[in-house]
């Protein structure tokens, strides 16, 4: 399998490298589209006819493994295909601006990595575990590392990419440890063996090791700190695919773990609580930090963390619900979480595409430079508004459908008396997340697209090319379909949910259909009412006097643009509450209250995550000290090195004689 993968990868590399500069994107597009079409075929076949076996082979390290598609893989294959096609379509316009700045090799490397990322993500979700899983997982990490490094001439990009690489390998170590433990006990390192492991050995240690390993990729608190660094550094279409689908492979891993708990109620309950708690903390932390950010892509990165939290809350509700013996609650939580995986991949990629449009015109992602962009980039503004409403989980779009299902699960828990306190905890967290996300995204949209321009660049920006708009329209269409026809979307989702934790998909579909059908009608009614009101208003205004006058300045006649409300001031109230989570980097001095005639001040504040400072604490300095000592061994003299090698051999010899090795 590795040989074939490497050969295919080599072929892709050769094709992309030999293609002329402007055709490279088309080679990448056709390769990714071919993979996507194949994947979609597998998805349809799996969901209609059942599991598909692709290949079986044996590995030296972990024994027999295979590639196969089951409903869980199918769901992830579907979102990978959709997002990656949109991404590669989008990338043409985005990369075009860099064709002169970078060498053709650089561009080729970028597209090769993009193709590899897509292929490796597909391999991740079809491998049965063990070596092939780790192989594709690592390939995914390296491909995304190269993608983040696109603008490698910027210092912060190199820093973020390195940070990402280190964090991912810490996570990778946990996964390796997990698979080795699994193989040691059961003799097989496939995901199916976990079920056996849970029966014969203590399950929680293995679960926690895997959970940390997968959580690192997903951006689970407190391992989320790579996300807000990597996304502002990466090109926007890379952020879109990373945030939209790559971090979901972490969720995929958690799903495989949940799948392995077979009717072991006690374990399911314990794991459900862990996942629910992790979801609540991750979601709240992510959303509060998101609302503080003044950089478009950092805000979106934190919002991804928040959405991972929401998904985990759903999974936790599902596990606790099944453990409590309620099929309905379990299905509500699981369907909600799975649908949210799909939904988030759609609106988050759209949001990052919008950020890319803005960046390619404004050459910055700092919100304090923007304002009033809607007049210059109207189509981007409309599409971004659409994604904003969707991510705020507002009806009638798709984000609401998935959160509604999770809510219904928790409300059922309350009303049936199943684990009421946990359900209440989930309800409080989810409603607070829902409220603050509205604040965060109204800030983002309002400061970037509305109001008066805060810099002269705004006036020079123009709408982006049609291909990028078309790429954004793909997720937009699906958002609308899931939002307005949720009763259709629930059928495949329920099938996948059944494959994860059991339960009855037909029952779930029957239970949800009345609600979702009603929701679909309400969505249509809502749109009709709004349209009717607008048309009526326009008709009434036709014959009346419509004037244009300056914004009311409350009696002040010389307002200027610098007096406009900024993103920082918009979230100031929340900052007062959320201060314990933050570490503010202040540059300069703010105007003091006692200063009656303030002089000129320079004041810049950055809201850093408090967890960030974990990387600057004593153990990092300790490592640094240790490294200093170790570096003394590097003398540069060959005779010393030969001594070291000899010493090493002697140690191995002694160990072997004693019988440790």
């Amino acid at each position: 399998m590795y040989l074939y993968t490497l050969l295919a990868a080599l072929l892709a590399i050769v094709l992309i490298f030999v293609a002329p500069l402007r055709a490279k994107v088309w080679v990448a597009t056709s390769l990714i589209s071919a993979a996507a079409v194949g994947a979609i075929y597998l998805v349809v076949r799996t969901l209609l006819l059942g599991d598909v076996l692709l290949a079986t082979f044996s590995t030296d390290m972990f024994g027999a493994e295979r590639l196969s598609v089951d409903p869980v893989s199918a769901l992830f294959l579907a979102i990978i295909s959709i997002t990656s096609v949109a991404t590669v379509l989008y990338s043409k316009g985005y990369v075009e601006g860099y064709l002169k700045r970078f060498s053709p090799t650089h561009i080729s490397l970028h597209y090769t990595a993009l193709v590899l990322l897509v292929v490796s993500m597909m391999l991740v979700v079809v491998s049965s575990g063990g070596f092939s899983f780790l192989f594709s997982w690592e390939l995914m990490t390296i491909a995304s590392f190269i993608l983040i490094l696109f603008e490698a001439d910027r210092h912060e990009v190199r820093r973020a990419a390195l940070n990402y690489l280190v964090m991912m390998h810490i996570g990778f170590m946990f996964l390796v440890a997990g698979f080795v433990m699994l193989h040691g006990v059961t003799g097989s390192a496939n995901f199916e063996a976990i079920e056996c492991y849970f029966k014969v050995a203590k399950p929680l240690p293995l679960f926690i090791i895997f959970f940390i390993g997968f959580g690192m990729k997903a951006g689970l608190f407190p391992m989320h700190i790579w996300l807000p660094e990597a996304h502002p550094a990466a090109p926007s279409h890379v952020s879109a695919i990373m945030s939209g689908v790559m971090i979901k492979t972490g969720i995929y891993g958690v799903l495989r773990l949940l799948q392995a708990i077979d009717h072991n109620t006690e374990l399911l309950y314990a794991i459900g609580l862990i996942v629910l708690l992790a979801g609540i903390v991750t979601g709240l932390w992510g959303v509060i930090l998101a609302a503080m950010q003044n950089d478009i892509k950092r805000l979106m990165a934190y919002s991804s963390i928040e959405n991972i939290g929401v998904i985990l809350i759903g999974l936790g509700v599902a596990a606790v619900g099944h453990a409590a013996g309620s099929n309905l609650i379990g299905m509500c939580g699981m369907c909600g979480a799975l649908l949210h995986v799909v939904n988030h991949s759609l609106f988050k990629s759209m949001l990052f595409f919008s950020a890319g449009n803005i960046y390619s015109r404004m050459h910055t992602t700092s919100m304090s430079q923007m304002g009033g962009l809607a007049k210059h980039m109207p189509v981007t503004a409309i599409l971004m508004l659409f994604a904003t409403v969707a991510i705020c989980a507002l009806p009638p779009l798709n984000g609401f459908v998935s959160e509604l299902l999770i809510y219904i699960g928790m409300f059922n828990g309350v009303s049936d008396g199943h684990e009421v306190l946990y359900a209440i905890g989930g309800i409080i967290a989810l409603s607070l997340i829902g409220g603050i996300v509205v604040l965060a995204f109204s800030k983002l949209y309002g400061v970037v697209f509305l109001g008066s321009p805060r810099s002269t660049h705004v006036a020079e920006s123009t709408e982006v090319d049609n291909q990028r708009i078309a790429a954004m329209a793909i997720p937009a269409m699906l958002i609308l379909v899931i939002g307005l026809l949720p009763q259709l979307a629930i059928r495949p989702i329920a099938l996948v949910a059944e494959a994860v934790t059991g339960g009855d998909s037909a029952f779930a579909v029957a239970a949800f259909t009345p609600t979702l059908t009603a929701l679909s009608y309400v969505g249509i009614i809502l749109i009709l009412v709004i349209a009717l009101l607008y048309v009526a208003k326009r008709r009434a205004q036709l014959k009346r006097k419509i004037e244009s006058g300056p914004t009311w300045g409350c009696g002040f006649t010389a307002p200027n643009i610098r007096m406009q409300y900024t993103g920082e001031s918009f979230s100031e109230g929340l900052e007062n509450i959320g201060r314990p989570l933050l570490k503010n980097m202040v540059d300069g001095r703010s105007v003091d209250k006692g200063e009656i005639f303030p002089k000129q001040h320079n004041y810049e504040v950055q809201h850093k995550d408090k967890v960030d400072s974990l990387l600057g604490m004593w153990w990092v300095r300790l490592m640094h000290r240790i490294n200093m000592y170790v570096m003394r061994l590097r003398t540069g003299r060959v005779n010393n090195y030969v001594t070291f090698a000899l010493l090493f051999l002697a140690v191995v010899l002694i160990f072997t004689l004693v019988g440790i090795l």
């Binding site: 009412v529 205004q541 300045g553 918009f570």
Partner: protein
Amino acid sequence: MLIKLLNTLLMIVVALSITGVINRTRAILAGRKGIRFFQHIYNARLMLSKGAVYSPTTTVLFRIAPCVYLGAAIVAFLFIPIADLEPILSFHGDIILVAYLLALSRIAIVLAALDTGSSFEGMGAAREALYGALVEPALMMALATLALFCGYSSFADIFATAQETDTNLTIVMLLLAYVFLIIMIIESGRVPVDDPRTHLELTMIHEVMCLDYSGIDLAMINIAGWLKNAIWAVIAANAVSVVVCFHWEFATPLAILGTGITIGCIESLRARNKLSRNITYILTIVAMSALVLLTGFLLYQNIDI
């Protein structure tokens, strides 16, 4: 069908009269003659027949926002039953939909306020977004308490399964009515959180966001405000009438007079909070709501055992 129409009709009556009752109460308490009972409706009619002034800073979003604001409120309005009557729309889970429809109307008006580019409207928008976010858990917990006692998650079912009166239910429902009343005060921006009659834009919340609206748009925003008031007033009145007398003939006047007179008295008798105290005030309601839920949970466990 007739019941549903009656319900909607009564809801409209509630929506139209609460503001009148508040104004009358305030006038009587201040010893003034006061304005006509339906003055606010005449004002709205006047605004509906006027033209409009739009700032050149604004985009099309500014003109659509009032329609979204009103549209979402109308749809939410259709889900609310008065005591034993049935609402036009109802499904399992609609209590969550209503909360999120109100959030939709909130984001519409917040974005519209930011669209004007005015610093004053930005202030109002920031406050509205923050208070809305903080009050959401209180609302959800209050709804969860209802779900705990009545076992359903749609407004129509919750109030239709009124149980026979017992002390526990009475305590919880009266507390819930209080929580809903305070939520109404926060959401509609009345004293002590916000003062609609204040003269200083710097301290306004809701009113400052509609500074640039005129004519039909302003009328739409006002009408949406009435509808939202009616939603909260009727839910609070339903909670009371569940334990006193579960009948629309009792609940409708209670919704109008109860909330109207209470809010009128509060506005006449106490000053508004300092703005920095508002967050504490809202968090107190969240805590209160959590307490009600916990009390309810304990009492509910007792009933079962």
